[in-house]
């Protein structure tokens, strides 16, 4: 049986379409994906993302250990700083992509993908050998909400009474609510301004109820979470990153800090970066309305040159687009075809971002 988040009963009561995702029964949509997507782009939406995994890492080697398993560089960061990056295998393949919050001197909070919790925790434990660190896996203790959209800041301040005007993009702070610690960060997965709130199940359910009662924030499911992140070029583990797709192949070298003394996968990734890779992720823009989907073949003059990782008829722009893992020889502007059922549809290679992010920095 799948796990349920602390908000499961709320989703059912709202009549959400609930489907399995990452080992959880999660709301896919409440009203319609398009309505929910537009609410986040234009106003404010809230997502239950309590399925995400969390773990604290502390101890005298915490910074050195995080730098060992993480592609980005947390050295000397101020408390409250957040980093995006990956954990990689020695061969450069991706274990997971994650956020690392620096919560104190030698105290880090890692946010990992729901579907990867078991695998990641095992990887972290195994990699910790020889480091003096304490690993506190706390996924079960935390619920998480993502409040996203141009009106997110006012909704946070006025409905939830969480001061966040001064919270800088990719930073976090802790609140003490009735003796319980709550983590709030200016982060998200939609390309809009927004916040993520981590707290006890009881706290998260209370905040959700306040948001619903206010009518100022639309409940949004994982359906639009995927269309929103896709439009702005954010990857989903399992599609754009995987054991077979390294951060370099995915075009995320900027999150691999090769000037660090070491991290797992550094040598392999550096080799990929300097010598090149056979295939890399690119954007595709189709001439027609047909919808490319994960796994569909990409062809050039009838010869297979790649495979779609994610595709949609976009919602914010009237255009069918995909991200695909294709031969590195293909350049921006090159023409290819996508095999959709029995037909092929012409497409142009473009950058893998189809809509501009609207972060408040």
């Amino acid at each position: 049986m799948n796990k349920r988040t602390c908000l499961y009963d709320r989703h059912v009561a709202l009549g959400a379409l609930v489907q399995p995702f990452g080992g959880f029964d999660m709301p896919i949509q409440y009203s319609s994906i398009i309505e929910e997507h537009n609410a986040v782009r234009q106003h404010c939406g809230v997502f239950d993302v309590s399925h995400m995994g969390e773990t604290f890492i502390s101890g005298e080697d915490a910074e050195r250990f995080v730098n060992h398993i993480f592609t980005n560089d947390v050295t000397g960061a101020p408390i409250g700083q957040i980093f995006y990056g990956m954990m990689c295998y020695p061969d450069g393949g991706t274990v997971d992509d994650l956020l690392v919050y620096k919560m104190g001197e030698q105290l880090y909070f890692l946010v990992i993908n729901a579907a990867n919790i078991d695998k990641d925790m095992e990887w972290i434990m195994t990699s910790a050998e020889g480091f003096n660190v304490n690993i506190d896996h706390c996924s079960e203790r935390y619920g998480q909400l993502a409040v996203q959209g141009p009106e997110a800041e006012t909704v946070m301040e006025e409905v939830l009474q969480i001061p966040c005007k001064d919270l800088v993009f990719y930073t976090a702070k802790t609140l003490n609510v009735d003796g319980v610690e709550v983590i709030v960060s200016r982060t998200g997965y939609t390309g809009e301004d927004g916040f993520e709130i981590y707290g006890s199940h009881e706290y998260i359910v209370n905040q959700w109820d306040k948001l619903m009662e206010s009518g100022r924030c639309k409940p949004c499911g994982l359906g639009c979470r995927d269309t929103l992140r896709f439009e702005v070029g954010l990857p989903l583990y399992g599609d754009e990153l995987s054991q077979d797709i390294s951060p370099v192949m995915a075009g995320f070298s900027m999150f691999c800090k090769f000037d660090k003394p070491e991290f797992i996968g550094k040598e392999a990734l550096l080799k990929q970066k300097t010598e090149g890779v056979a295939r890399r992720l690119r954007g595709l823009m189709l001439d027609d309305r047909a919808v490319p989907r994960h796994g569909y073949k990409v062809l050039k003059d009838g010869v297979e040159v790649g495979e779609v990782t994610t595709g949609y008829r976009l919602i914010s722009v009237d255009q069918s687009c995909a991200v695909a893992l294709v031969d590195s020889s293909l350049k921006l502007g090159d023409r290819v075809e996508v095999q959709i059922r029995k037909k092929t549809f012409p497409a142009t290679i473009v950058k893998k971002k189809f809509y501009d992010k609207h972060y408040k920095k």
Binding site: S32, I34, G223, R289, R293, R313
Partner: protein
């Protein structure tokens, strides 16, 4: 008279022609429809065989023909406005077929039977 298949297509029969589309129940299950992949006029369709697909934001679903025959018209308004199916699935048929074997209709469900099965 309108008939329904187990796979949620309908055929509304008018004389020797049938208008084939998806049921209102099916459009609700699919959610926002963003593309309809239709056959060409003069293509033959076979009962129970794929003749196209309807795509929601999330996924593609094959369309299975409830009848055999020849496509005499496709609903061109769906090319630019596939969401018409969400607005009125019964009115917005997908293909018009010249029926080759009207006896096939006997194995389909009538509207009451279909509706009682799919609440």
């Amino acid at each position: 008279m309108t008939y329904f298949s187990e796979s949620h297509e309908y055929v509304r029969v008018e004389g020797e022609f049938g208008y084939v589309g998806i049921s209102d129940y099916a459009q609700k299950q699919l959610g926002n429809i963003v593309y309809v992949d239709m056959p060409d006029v003069d293509d033959d369709v076979e009962v129970g065989e794929v003749f196209g697909a309807v795509e929601s934001v999330k996924a593609a679903s094959d369309l299975l023909s409830p009848v055999s025959g020849t496509v005499v018209e496709v609903n061109e308004s769906l090319e630019d406005s596939p969401e018409l199916i969400n607005q009125d699935a019964n009115e917005n048929w997908i293909i018009k077929v010249k029926l080759s074997d009207p006896s096939e209709l006997e194995s389909l469900m009538d509207e009451d039977t279909y509706n009682s099965k799919n609440q």
